[in-house]
Structure formats: structure tokens, C-alpha cells
Symmetry: none
Subunit: 224 residues, 2 copies
DNA sequence: CTGGCGCGTTAGGAAGGCGTCAAGATGGCC
DNA sequence: GGCCATCTTGACGCCTTCCTAACGCGCCAG
């Protein structure tokens, strides 16, 4: 989980940002002005900083300088001002990106992802663990205590759909449609065969599955 | 001096960018479409890419993917479209920044400086070792206990994509598209031939590969 | 009690992917 | 023009994967 420091004096915007970031599993710190921003950053070093330029106590460029002295985390500047001079000044001071208000939340989130991706290459690992096996969605790898588990493409496809929604019940129709395509919604046979194969490869006791569960008459469910 | 690749089909804009960048001592390459962009990038690896989304032959997102397969240089996207969806798609594909046309030259130059500043210090040690061979991505050299290994350009291209993502499963489609270009996604023959050649040159026991692995029906994987 | 239904399990044949080899193309270089 | 390295292309055998059908079991309703 990445820690994000939000430096913003507008309470309402701060609230909106915090909620959105927390919903995406970021660890959020907040500071209402430049002085406390530097203090918080020192106490809890952030992985990324979102910095509003219109602060009450000091200019945004000063904050950037203050941070850049010791901190290499990416800085994304927010500002209502849209003049080139402001942007150039902030970027050359050490900021990494400059977003003009009003901005779309989706865009800001994408820029945050891009900045974090560049800063820490390959640490964001969507990996799911159970006590019996581990699934790495990025590298498409499944391991159990004995080592790597070889899955066929169809087996992987079924497993991936289940694992992407942990704990959620997936209807048979949805699985069949996503893996075999529309028109196969009634071939529940296929599902039984492949669920059996997955359980044989992954469950410690395939006849008593603990992670790949059947909900009779409804569908299947993956549980950690 | 940093090398910048400009991918832009608008002659006039290309000219303006080139002049401005050359005046700032950048080494400028240019490509008018996605296909030649990938070709030029392969021949003369850029330190930064400026990519217009409105290309005649392929979508900007495809170009980003094609570059990201083996190239870690920052990518700044230019686009006339200002919708959030476009920005999010480009950034999540691997772009580092998104600038909407019309833009100010000073701002773009500042964003270029910011991108290069972030990219340069963490130049990351581009050398991968296994117990059977060593790969130096910077000098494009491969050595095994017997000395240097001679690879053909295509062999190298395939190997580089795999090695840039250690442990990750690369789908055949992606390899084919990035090495042979779009339109070759179904020529899985090529892959089999070249994987065999790479294994014969690199693996101690080519018939039982330990580093260049096949995941049947899905793709290939490089493991240290 | 009995038949139907859904689920798990197994096995075998068909289809297609994979590794391998070798024979043309292709293009650069002398 | 001829030589060489490299890239394409086709053919073959082997092996994996997928589909399909059959059977057994447990559950529930009739």
C-alpha cells in the first residue's frame, strides 16, 4: 500500500480526495498548509505528494523545494492557475506533474498511478494468498508448497475470474459466458470438469474444497 | 545530451517541436506513424518519447504498449482529445504524462525536463544474471561460460522483451506484435523457431529449458 | 420408495499447439 | 555477380489440452 500526502487547504476538496484515495487502498495523510506538510512528510515519509499551490502560509514552489531537499517521492501539483509560467516554475522546482483545477478524479487517479509506477517499478503486485496456494495475477503464476503449479489456459481463465472477485459468488452463466463465449451458458458440464481439475491441482483435499466452493444451483465462489 | 523521439504526423507541428528541442541541445529523432516509431526506437533507443495519439496506422495506446515492452523511457502523450477516458487509457497503458493540444511550448519543455530529471538518476542496473548466462541490456551483450554469445537482431529483440519482465508470462500475441509488428499475431511459427534458437544458444540443456519457459497455449516466460 | 436433477469424477478421442529440421527467400557486403 | 548471415516458410511427429459422454452419488419432491 502506498502512502499519499495531500497538501490542501480547501476542506471540501481535501475530503473528496481522501475518500477517493482511501477507497483505492492508499494510505492517506493530510496537511492544510506548507509548514505542517513539511512536518508530516518528515514524520511519515510519503510515496507520493499531492500539492495544492494556493496555500495560506507559503508558496507552492517553496514547499516543493522544501520537500525536494531530502525526499524523492513524486509530487503532483494542483492549481487553479493555468498560466504557463506557473506550470514551468512548479515543474522546474522539482514537481513531477501539474494538474489544473477543475480536474476529473479519474484523470488524477490515473496520473497518480503513472507517477507511482515510475517511482517504484514492480512493487505493485496483485497477489492473492491462501494457506494452500498463492496466485500472482501479474505474472500469471500459481504456487503451492510443492512449487509452481501448471495450469492450462482454460483453467487459468476460470480461476482468474473467481479470484478477481474474492468472496463473491459468480453465477455459472457468467463463468461460461466469459470463458467459452456467448452461446455456452448451458454447458454446465464444462464448469464441473474444470472446477474439479482446479481443485485437484490446488486444494489440499480436493474432495473437501476450502477455497473453491460450490454454491449448489447458483455458481462458484473463491474464498481466501 | 538526451535523445528525444517525436512521433507526430502533422508536419508543421513536428517541425516546430524539432526546432525547439534542437535549440535546447536535444538529439531529435522523428517518426510520422506508429510502425516507423517502433522501428526507429529499436534502432536508436530514445531517452524520452513524445507521442501524438492521432496516428494514421495504429492507436496511440498500441504504440505505448509496443514501446513499453522493452523500453522504459518516459512517454509524453500529445492529444487534441481532452476527455478523461482517453487520458486514463493512455496513462494506464504506460504513458507518463498527457498534454492536451493546444499546448504552450514552454510548458511542454518543462514537462520534458521533469520527465528526464526523474528518469535519469535511477538508471537501474540493466544487467541480468542467471547461472547459465548473463545479459547486459545496455550494451546488448550476452555471455555464457564459454564467452560471448552471438545473437541475431530478431533473437535479441525477443530475448529483450522477455528479460525486461523477469518472471512474467508474456503472451505470444504480445511478442509477435512487438517484434514483427501488428498483423503478425497469428504467426506463432516464428516464435517457436526463435525460441528454439535462443534455447540452443543459451540453455545448458536446450531440450529441458530452465530459463526460457513455455506456458502451453499462453506464452513464454523468462526466469532467472 | 423412486425418479429426476445437479454435482463430482473419470476416461478416451479429436484437435491443435509445440519443438524440430531443413529448404528456399531475402538482403547486405565484398 | 557471388557469398554469407539472417529471416521466412513448410512439413513432420509428439504431446498437451479440450471437448464429450458416461457413471455414481446425494438431495429433494412426488
Amino acid at each position: 500500500m502506498s502512502r499519499v500526502l495531500i497538501v490542501e487547504d480547501d476542506r471540501q476538496l481535501l475530503r473528496a480526495l481522501s475518500i477517493n484515495l482511501r477507497a483505492r487502498q492508499y494510505d492517506v495523510d493530510a496537511a492544510p498548509d506548507g509548514t505542517s506538510a513539511l512536518a508530516v512528510a518528515g514524520r511519515r515519509p510519503p510515496d507520493l505528494v499531492i500539492l495544492d499551490l494556493g496555500l495560506p502560509d507559503m508558496t507552492g514552489v517553496d514547499v516543493v523545494h522544501g520537500l525536494r531537499g531530502w525526499c524523492t517521492a513524486p509530487i503532483i501539483v494542483l492549481s487553479a492557475r493555468d498560466t504557463q509560467g506557473d506550470k514551468v516554475a512548479a515543474l522546474d522546482a522539482g514537481a513531477d506533474d501539474y494538474v489544473t483545477k477543475p480536474f476529473g478524479m479519474d484523470e488524477l487517479l490515473a496520473r497518480i498511478r503513472a507517477a507511482l509506477r515510475r517511482a517504484s517499478p514492480g512493487d505493485s503486485a496483485p497477489v492473492i494468498r491462501t494457506d494452500a496456494f498463492t496466485i500472482d495475477l501479474a505474472t500469471k503464476r500459481v504456487t503451492n508448497p510443492d512449487g509452481d503449479v501448471r495450469l492450462t489456459p482454460t483453467e487459468w481463465h476460470v480461476l482468474e475470474i473467481l479470484v478477481r472477485h474474492p468472496g463473491k459468488l459468480i453465477p455459472q452463466k457468467q463463468l461460461l459466458q466469459e470463458v467459452w463465449g456467448p452461446g455456452y451458458e448451458s454447458e454446465t458440464n464444462y464448469l464441473r470438469v474444470y472446477m474439479a481439475q482446479l481443485r485437484r491441482k490446488l486444494e489440499p483435499d480436493p474432495s473437501r474444497p476450502r477455497h473453491l466452493l460450490t454454491e449448489p444451483g447458483m455458481g462458484y465462489r473463491f474464498t481466501t
